[in-house]
Amino acid sequence: MNGGDIPVFHPFSPETASISDLFILVLIVCGVILAIVVGMIGYGLIFFRHKPDSADPASHFGNRKLEITWTVGPILIIVCLFALTVRGMRESDPAANRPPDLIVIGHQWWWEVRYPQAGVVTANEIHIPVGRQWLVRLESADVIHDFWVPALARKIQMIPGQTNHIWLEADAPGTYDGECVEFCGAGHAWMRFSVIAESSAEFDAWLREQENSASIPAIDSVQTGLKIFQTMSCINCHSIQGVSVAANAAPDLTHLASRQTLGGGVLSNTETNLFRWLKNPQAFKPGCFMPNLKLTDAQASALTGYLETLQ
């Protein structure tokens, strides 16, 4: 994993870098204020403790000058903070007047990723070229989701009936974790994704591969798997280019085998995991809309074999 332990302070894009700097500055200011308060209280606790048999201290009702000072002082601090806020916001103001490079649509509980220029559709994994500022349009197909890649970009809600835009950019190649941050139902915890930043050449190669459907070897077992995909209810929700592209209720599987995870991050994408997932998805991602189809071991392994060919 790239991004360090604390991605908010270990940014990999100009936008998150500027937020990180701002955050550290604000934390220092807050730390100083906290130190003053704790210092005042601590000093009081040490030096102004009650001594037995001592009389009450003289009444002291306040000091107007002091009170005005600690009203005006913080006002000056927040004026500075406000100026910093304005500056920070200007750096992450996406232009809405150009077509987006990427469209991400939140579904319960997966991410539909579209590359409008190339016409490529994928899910739960976003490939971007390193060093290019991409405009991302965010939508929702059902409830409110929230798109967040801590190391790369601010978070923003995906709201049904509204489109939002943000910049997405990575300074260095790597895989960056992303997740949904607005509670969206039973599968919220497993609505994760990754952003894979690659060099331009790698990215272009990947995109070309995605544009075509996978080549399926004419082996019997694979053809059995394909049959199962077409005859069981899989095809009602999933699309595979070259097989059927009618459905949009669940992730597009055209290049499933090239992805790193299954079920929105709940399992890594290995052959055994895919088999276990097909046998009973509810065991791994309870509440998700993919039912337990009660596949026999033979059916499941044939289907796994077919899906594994979707490179």
């Binding site: 604000v26 009170e67 709201i159 941050v181 509670f183 509440g287």
Partner: protein
């Protein structure tokens, strides 16, 4: 005037006999002290439930990829935990404390409306039971305590949990508003002679301001909840974007309530601290005026900061910036308070009783929570950390480290007054140290979890470096915190039987509640000591060195208010906010073109204009009726009253015919958003007119049964005010819906 102030004042003897004993006595009580204790006991039960819910969640989160709870169970738990802690614990606990203490602190015998007070309390267990009944009816709500639409709408939340949630919150909201109206009327009209507003103890002042926050903020929630309920049951689309509704409007409505709510839970806590810190530092509060004014500032600003919960919505940079500015500004009055409390301790003679220890921990923890709150006001930082465990940590520092610690301080401070016995200091110290260590262990690490990217409300998480360990630490802390609550319960149980007798004033405090016995008699006071400053008992104990007199010698403020009038006006203010929300929803949805019926095609301004005139005329007739009653002309009064009822009925008939015409055209409440907002707004108004007519009929009956006695004239005034209000609302509604068509 000085004569009145100097003499001790004899309180009128109680009208009811001594308090009845036994369970029945408690159930039927209208005594503010008993009701206060009922509040506290009830919230204690809910507090334990909310705590157990939290601990179950912490067990589930103790290690990654855990299967202790299903996501559905976990979602129900965090929804119930949030709802319970906010609506069934923090708010009612603070209201309960206010109920017990405010009349004592202002030298009154009881609240202004004792029976309303009992009603407010009994709505709490009703609302709580209704909410928990959902567990038997298919599952508790599982949408989070802010129930974001459209997740809370029927296609996504299929069980009836959300319905129980809405109904229960409505009931609890009504209870809180009623309690606040009662507190406002009590504080404004029942203060002992000499206790002018400028001499109020800060706890009472903050409860006073807080009550206004409640009556202004809760109607926003009620309006939103009513719309959600209509959506779920009548098939309308307020918040369903698929049919033109707006998911963002729910957020606006909810947070327009939700942020003032944060201060509703904080201001009374500030009040407790403002009493505890001076007493145990043996010095008056430093800068009373600044502390009092900063409370007003917080209350005013709290209504203009809600959108900082919505920086991730994409409202546009101008909106984000303005709300950032107001959100930062609210830190200033909060800071003023923290500095004032610290300065009160400075130069004092500090006694670290358990109560004071909790207050000191409050100061530091609340400052941490407040400062992490400032980071949320800096918009770009909010974009990174909102919705993560950093936020969870922040809100618990404010609400647990802040409010709950203040409540604990208050319990240790006032328990002797309520029970007549001291809480054990030995157990108290144990309680404190487990609480402070447990709390900070549980929640400080959550800041880091948030920065590492852990979202809130996830039932489990992948095994990323560090996540499992920090979550485990947090769980251990939570259990330590749970243990400290058990120690508190044990301490209360033991001390109730074996605690040291407290005496009238064990802490040598200065406010009026300590001038009576512990526990106070039914009528609270035999005599109220003279009040000429903010610390009457100090003056009494130190006649050689009294506090300077505050605000001149007058024993009363420059105005005299009647409690029924105060009550009805406060009630109308909260009604006004409710209608304002409905009107704003109407404007919001009808300002752009839509499919289906439109105002122009459905409504006829001229015809409705005539009925409007009838309603306005009825305002005039009830005004005249009131005059006639005062002039002791009962028959003229009855005639005018009948005329008013008649005019009101004509209006209702007119509205019904309008409805029938629209129904006839095939338009129903769920046809489109025009129909939805139109029927909701005019329907609620019509309902109010009907209630008004019933009230007038009751007046009529009373008048026929016999002439009005002195006290009843107030009832005519109150109902008259209500009627004027209903008419005024219609005037606005008419302009918004109908007059716009003529322009």
């Amino acid at each position: 005037m000085s004569e009145t102030a100097s003499a001790s004042v004899v309180i009128e003897t109680p009208q009811r006999g001594s308090a009845s004993r036994g369970l029945y006595g408690w159930v039927a009580t209208a005594d503010h002290k008993r009701i206060g204790i009922l509040y506290l006991l009830t919230t204690l039960v809910f507090f334990v439930m909310g705590g157990v819910e939290a601990l179950l969640m912490r067990i589930q989160l103790a290690r990654p990829n855990n299967h202790f709870l299903s996501p559905d169970a976990f979602d129900q738990l965090f929804t119930m935990h949030g709802t319970t802690m906010i609506f069934l614990v923090v708010m009612p606990t603070l209201i309960g404390l206010a109920n017990y203490l405010v009349p004592l602190m202002i030298g009154a015998r009881d609240m202004a409306f004792p029976r309303l007070n009992a009603l407010s309390f009994w709505l709490l267990p009703c609302g709580g039971l209704l909410l928990h009944f959902s567990l038997l009816a298919g599952g508790a709500p599982a949408v989070g305590w802010f129930s974001y639409a459209p997740l809370s709408e029927t296609p996504y939340a299929t069980t009836s949990g959300v319905d129980y949630w809405t109904l229960s919150l409505l009931i609890l909201g009504v209870g809180s508003v009623a309690a606040s109206i009662n507190l406002i009327a009590t504080i404004l009209t029942l203060r002992a002679p000499g206790l002018t507003i400028r001499r109020l103890p800060l706890f009472v002042w903050m409860i006073f301001i807080n009550s206004f926050l409640v009556i202004l903020a809760l109607p926003a929630l009620n309006a939103a909840i009513v719309m959600l309920f209509i959506d779920r049951h009548l098939g309308t689309h307020f918040f369903a974007p698929a049919n033109g509704g707006s998911a963002v409007l729910w957020q606006h409505f909810f947070w327009a309530f939700g942020h003032p709510e944060v201060y509703i839970m904080a201001l009374p806590a500030f009040g407790i601290i403002s009493e505890v810190v001076p007493v145990f530092s043996r010095r008056p509060i430093f800068g009373y005026e600044f502390v009092a004014a900063s409370t007003v500032a917080i209350a005013l600003l709290s209504f203009g900061v809600w959108a900082h919960h919505m920086f991730a919505v994409g409202l546009g940079h101008p909106v984000d910036l303005f709300f950032a500015a107001t959100s930062m500004m609210i830190a200033v009055p909060t800071g003023v308070k923290v500095f004032a409390w610290s300065a009160t301790m400075w130069g004092g003679s500090i006694r670290l009783t358990t109560s004071m220890l909790f207050a000191v921990a409050f100061l530091i923890q609340f400052t941490i929570g407040g400062l992490s709150g400032v980071t949320f006001a800096v918009v770009p930082i909010d974009w990174q950390v909102t919705g993560t465990y950093y936020l969870v940590a922040h809100l618990h520092y404010v609400l647990f480290g802040g409010t709950f610690f203040a409540i604990f301080a208050g319990i240790y401070y006032w328990f002797p007054k309520m029970s007549g016995r001291m809480l054990s200091e030995r157990l108290g110290k144990l309680n404190f140290w487990t609480a402070v260590i447990g709390f900070n262990t549980a929640f400080f690490v959550q800041h880091f979890l948030g920065l590492m990217g852990m979202a809130r409300r996830v039932y489990t998480y992948p095994d990323l470096p560090g996540w499992g360990l920090l979550n485990l630490i947090s769980t251990v802390g939570a259990f330590l915190l749970g243990a400290s609550v058990l120690i508190l319960l044990w301490n209360i149980a033991v001390s109730l039987r074996h605690g040291q007798p407290a005496g009238d004033n064990p802490w040598r405090a200065w406010t009026l509640e300590w001038a009576t016995t512990s526990p106070p008699p039914v009528q609270n006071f035999e005599r109220v000591p003279p009040i000429r400053s903010r610390r009457p008992l100090w003056d009494l104990a130190h006649p050689e060195n009294p506090d300077p007199i505050v605000g001149g010698t007058a024993a009363r403020d420059g105005f005299a208010l009647e409690k029924n009038r105060v009550g009805i006006v406060s009630f109308l203010i909260t009604e006004g906010v409710f209608f304002l929300m409905l009107i704003l929803a109407y404007l919001y949805y009808n300002s752009h073109a839509m499919n289906g019926p439109t105002p122009t095609s459905m409504l006829n301004p001229q015809r409705t204009g005539i009925y409007t005139l009838c309603l306005l005329a009825s305002s005039f007739t009830i005004w005249l009726a009131d005059k006639k009653l005062k002039a002791k002309q009962p028959s003229a009064f009855r005639w005018l009253l009948s005329l008013t009822i008649l005019l009101g009925t004509v209006f209702i008939i007119g509205q019904s015919r309008e409805y029938l015409r629209i129904f006839h055209a095939g338009v129903m409440v769920n046809s489109n958003l025009f129909a939805t907002t139109f029927f909701t707004l005019t329907g609620f108004h019509g309902l109010h007119v009907c209630v008004g007519i019933i009230a007038l009929l009751i007046l009529m009956g009373l008048s026929l049964a016999g002439d009005f006695k002195q006290g009843r004239i107030e009832a005519v005034k109150s109902i008259g005010l209500y009627w004027h209000f209903v008419d005024a609302v219609w005037l606005v509604v008419f302009s918004v819906i109908y007059l716009r068509l003529l322009l």
